[in-house]
Symmetry: C2
Subunit: 328 residues, 2 copies
Amino acid sequence: MPRPGEFELIARHFAPIAGPGGLDLLDDAGLLRPGRGYELVVTADALVAGVHFFPDDPPDAIGWKALAVNLSDLAAKGARPEGFVLTLALPHGWTEAWLAGFVAGLGRMAEEARCPLIGGDTVSTAGPLTLSITAFGTVPAGRMVRRAGARPGDVVLVSGSIGDGALGLKAHGPDKPGWVASLALEQRAFLADRYLHPQPRHALAEALQRHASAAMDVSDGLVGDLAKLLKASGVGAEIDLDSVPLSPAARAALMADPALAELAWTGGDDYEILCTASEREYPALIAAAEGSMLPLTPIGRVTAEAGVVTYREQGRLRSFAQGSFSHF
Amino acid sequence: MPRPGEFELIARHFAPIAGPGGLDLLDDAGLLRPGRGYELVVTADALVAGVHFFPDDPPDAIGWKALAVNLSDLAAKGARPEGFVLTLALPHGWTEAWLAGFVAGLGRMAEEARCPLIGGDTVSTAGPLTLSITAFGTVPAGRMVRRAGARPGDVVLVSGSIGDGALGLKAHGPDKPGWVASLALEQRAFLADRYLHPQPRHALAEALQRHASAAMDVSDGLVGDLAKLLKASGVGAEIDLDSVPLSPAARAALMADPALAELAWTGGDDYEILCTASEREYPALIAAAEGSMLPLTPIGRVTAEAGVVTYREQGRLRSFAQGSFSHF
């Protein structure tokens, strides 16, 4: 089957997932109109085959995740998704079947988050498939949740469960370590799916915007991302590692190999929300999260000692050599 | 000199060209707040080394042009630049000197257009350097200039001069054709500079927004881009090729090799504005353009015959085999 040219490619694959602001992808630009009193939150992520995903990952999962990681940032900032643009550099060997799968995953994520495509660009590359998404959300003016708002005495919380993404990468990747075989099939599938199909926590956005003092998403590992949030806020924290929420599958993996705890706390790809809230606000934040069926779990306290993070595990102090996973 | 990590790289190179909406590039997102009654125009372009520029082009020119091509789209849409995000995939051999040059060119263009950086992402790639820019502009709500607004009887106009970019690519590239040697040194330099440092016509944005019925920028060649505009509008046109404005350097090249006229009309990288305006509005459009020191030249008329473009050159009809340059 001959591959379509750029015009046909856009009409056939991308126009069906475009929103009204995309003007049918027939113009040179898209349009966004934030409601009166709202401002626009803009976030961007680039993904490269062989760096951020395996080139032979299911194309549907690549498309899903490419948008999901951006929506995760918007959720952490308290913003409601409004649309995104995609630039895509296709390698020489691309097929239309691959593209159809990619757009299917991208489109499902876009529909679930009500965040349509509004524009983009498609080019060719002699290198690996490379894509970049810029996503847009809205918040009431002045209400974006910053990294820099944590204050001493605030409670530190995380959404969902931590470590599934990093464990899922091992369970999904080509070189499976021994502990993977000790898991039940459905546990392996759960972890791999958490890696392949992260769920951006946009249902928490409004609660964060109302009640959180600071937030970011956990994409490069809890320990490293917490250090970034605390640094931006000029504070420290005391964290109870025993409180960090783990999924049943992650617990089973840690039973098989207790050394995996370090991976769970420092590995990437969680796409959960890390946030802080004042003593007064945090009960309302937890209640709002429960209303969204997305539990938030307190894991520690913000302290006044800038840059000092104390981790406790079963009563003992613990420190981390490698703070954060870096894709760079 | 050791290369900086991602955090240092952002602080050292990118933070100096960031605007207030970039929040010092220390958060997960940037902010845009269009004024009341305005909406946001969003455009994106991806560029790949070896496809859109030569890998050993001056890094300053690559940075300049990466933003310029997006600002050119905003100008054609009648939008005032407000900011941009950059995602950059750096190849394994990148150097800090290259990056400093790239950001210098990018920053000069950003400053000249008052269009600051508000966010982005930096990753590594095993392939060629790849970058993607999403740029934002504002227009009074409902006033973005579309491709689809041309009406029969409208005048067709182009800004500046046509063909310099495509001729400049030849004059600048590694395999210089014979006609290049026949040009004066300053003519060669002029053409190469038009290719390397396109000037986005943002000074025309307000005039277009007030007076044009349709517009787009000429990035893939006049003939091909005119076909796109007419198709979007459901109309045709009669074009007088003798009226198409040429620079003195392009005239000298066409004197040396008359066959270059085809390249001038169909080659890419002009980054001029192609627009239409009604009989009533076009004098005001031309006057406003003259006020901005950017001439607009009438080159033909819109006709009612959808898809039919008649080109006349020295009294004879002329047609084009290859309509448009494609980077895809």
